[in-house]
């Protein structure tokens, strides 16, 4: 894939495919899951054909999501390490929310908010997966005690709600911070976007002459 001249690659093609598979799974899981969570939302099951279909397909999508999210972790874990910059960034969170970029400390490829989304999903997805297995009636209905299943159902629901709230934050952030969406759809951002939101990342790319998304390491060709 080629990117327009002068832009920076924010996410590789593989990363984007991976992300959108995850996203699609998440949305489907959310819709089917919510249909089974609250009677107000049962109508959502019609999107899957019927309640039976929503119930049947939900765990399989969950399995896909687990694999898919594992892929995201492989691709993104290095850039999501927590560091002192994140503390500083967090300290300036009010400014961030007010769109007051000045005074917000410089951050690398991902800011603390993004890292929070990444790692909390990194926890929630396996949690949802494991508790999901426990309450997957068809295959594992007899594998655990009913009390365990009750606990699993409860944890699964709590975790799902947490994930949904995080997801809402994530989606809103993508809408709010203009240019981000393109970074995940077409894969590139402008240097100005990078300067504004991820200045340390831009600096590291520039310093190594990398087109993105990661700084060139010694020996790599341009």
């Amino acid at each position: 894939m080629s990117y327009p001249r002068g832009t920076i690659v924010r996410n590789t093609t593989a990363a984007r495919i991976n992300h959108w598979i995850t996203a699609a799974c998440f949305v489907l899981l959310m819709l089917s899951g919510l249909s089974m969570f609250h009677p107000l939302l049962f109508f959502l099951s019609a999107l899957f054909g019927s309640g039976q279909w929503a119930r049947a397909i939900h765990p399989w999508i969950g399995c896909v999501l687990l694999v898919s999210y594992a892929g995201l972790i492989v691709q993104f874990w290095r850039d999501n390490f927590w560091n002192w910059d994140d503390i500083a960034w967090m300290a300036a969170i009010v400014r961030v929310l007010r769109n007051e970029e000045e005074g917000v400390p410089e951050v690398g490829r991902f800011n603390a908010g993004q890292k929070f989304v990444f790692w909390s999903m990194g926890l929630l997805v396996p949690a949802l997966f494991l508790t999901g297995l426990v309450i997957w009636e068809y295959y594992f209905g007899a594998a655990t005690s009913i009390e365990t299943q009750r606990a699993a159902a409860l944890i699964h629901s709590y975790a799902a709600i947490a994930a949904i709230i995080i997801w809402i934050t994530h989606v809103y952030a993508a809408i709010w911070v203009r240019g981000s969406m393109r970074g995940m759809t077409q894969g590139y951002v402008t240097p100005g976007w990078a300067w504004r939101h991820h200045r340390k990342w831009l600096r590291s790319l520039v310093a190594t002459g990398s087109p993105g998304p990661r700084p060139r390491r010694a020996g790599e060709n341009s």
Binding site: S35, M36, F37, H38, P39, L40, F42, S45, S50, G51, Q52, A54, R55, A56, L97, R98, N99, E101, I135, E137, Y138, G141, I146, E147, Q149, R150, A151, A153, L154, S157, Y158, I161, I164, I165, I168, T169, Y172, I175, W176, V177, R178, G179, T190, P191, G192, W193, A194, W195, R196, L202, R203, V206, A207, G209
Partner: protein, 303 residues
């Protein structure tokens, strides 16, 4: 029996509307299982299978008379046998007909996410409406008695219907009719409670000091009740719960969590919305592009 015929609903799973029939006052029905006159012949089991057209697998001998070994989608009722040496050193063979208790406050119904898949009729019968069942197994988790079983064949949950089809036309449930010794009786809940009282008096006269009626208050009472010789120790009878109630986990899951979750999600969405209309998007400014271009040029200049 006319008062047993009503099948109006008083509870429906996964709905937020109150069924209109809740205002009616129908006579509630009950099945009374007098464990003390039960001979464990399994006529009830056979009659249940025959009437409801259920046939499971031919199993194996497993070191017990409990056959099949557990409830399953084709076994809605099951005799459970317990050999117990009592405190006097005499053997008692405690035999209990297991199956849906038709709770006044049904955990299955509470847990069920599919609208109308579980209903409670005005006469107290808790019925699974297969057409609406989505096979999630939440009823299994909701039930304090471990009764519902989800079929691997059609992915629907099954349990005793209290023969709602028979009760509708004024007939007693199949198991009740079959029971050779009259250990299973059927009638209005008040009549059954009164009859149980007489049985308890007889049992006490025969030396069972702790005889009593099992109608556990933890689930609001049940529409299937037991007369037990040892009502002080229900768990002797193949683990009949001593004090059943809907699990706190289920109560939180299906009670407190729902509004909390909806509130949380709504709050997140609303917060975003107001952020947008108050502060708006965060857009890249030309100064940002300029600064970036400078950085890049500087860098290229250096190389």
């Amino acid at each position: 029996m006319s008062n047993l015929q009503s099948q109006d609903y008083i509870r429906i799973s996964a709905t937020t509307l109150t069924p209109p029939s809740v205002r009616r006052h129908e006579q509630e029905v009950a099945k009374l299982i007098d464990v003390t006159r039960c001979i464990g012949c399994k006529a009830c089991q056979a009659a249940c299978m025959e009437w409801n057209d259920l046939r499971g697998e031919v199993g194996h001998f497993e070191g017990t008379y409990d056959n099949p070994l557990d409830l399953d989608p084709n076994t809605w009722t099951l005799m459970r046998f317990t050999e117990w040496d009592n405190d006097q050193g005499n053997l008692e063979w405690l035999i209990r007909k297991d199956g849906c208790m038709h709770c006044e406050d049904p955990g299955c119904l509470k847990a069920c996410p599919a609208p109308g898949a579980i209903v409670q009729y005005a006469n107290g019968i808790v019925d699974f409406i297969s057409e609406n069942c989505i096979g999630c197994g939440y009823c299994v988790k909701g039930c304090p008695f471990n009764i519902p079983r989800v079929s691997k064949v059609d992915h629907k949950s099954y349990k005793c219907t209290l023969c709602s089809d028979r009760v509708t036309v004024g007939r007693e449930p199949a198991c009740v009719k079959a029971c050779p010794t009259g250990a299973i009786m059927f009638g209005s809940k008040s009549d059954m409670t009164a009859w149980a009282g007489e049985r308890v008096i007889d049992l006490k006269a025969r030396g069972f000091e702790n005889a009593g009626l099992y109608d556990p208050p933890g689930v609001g009472g049940t529409h299937v009740m037991y007369v037990l010789h040892h009502a002080d120790r229900p768990s002797l009878y193949a683990g009949l719960p001593d004090n059943p109630k809907i699990s706190a986990l289920v109560e939180v899951w299906k009670g407190f969590l729902k509004p909390l979750a909806v509130a949380g999600v709504a709050l997140a969405a609303v917060a975003g919305f107001f952020h947008w209309i108050t502060l708006g998007p965060n857009e890249v400014q030309p100064e940002d592009e300029a600064a970036a271009a400078k950085l890049i040029n500087d860098s290229q200049g250096r190389t």
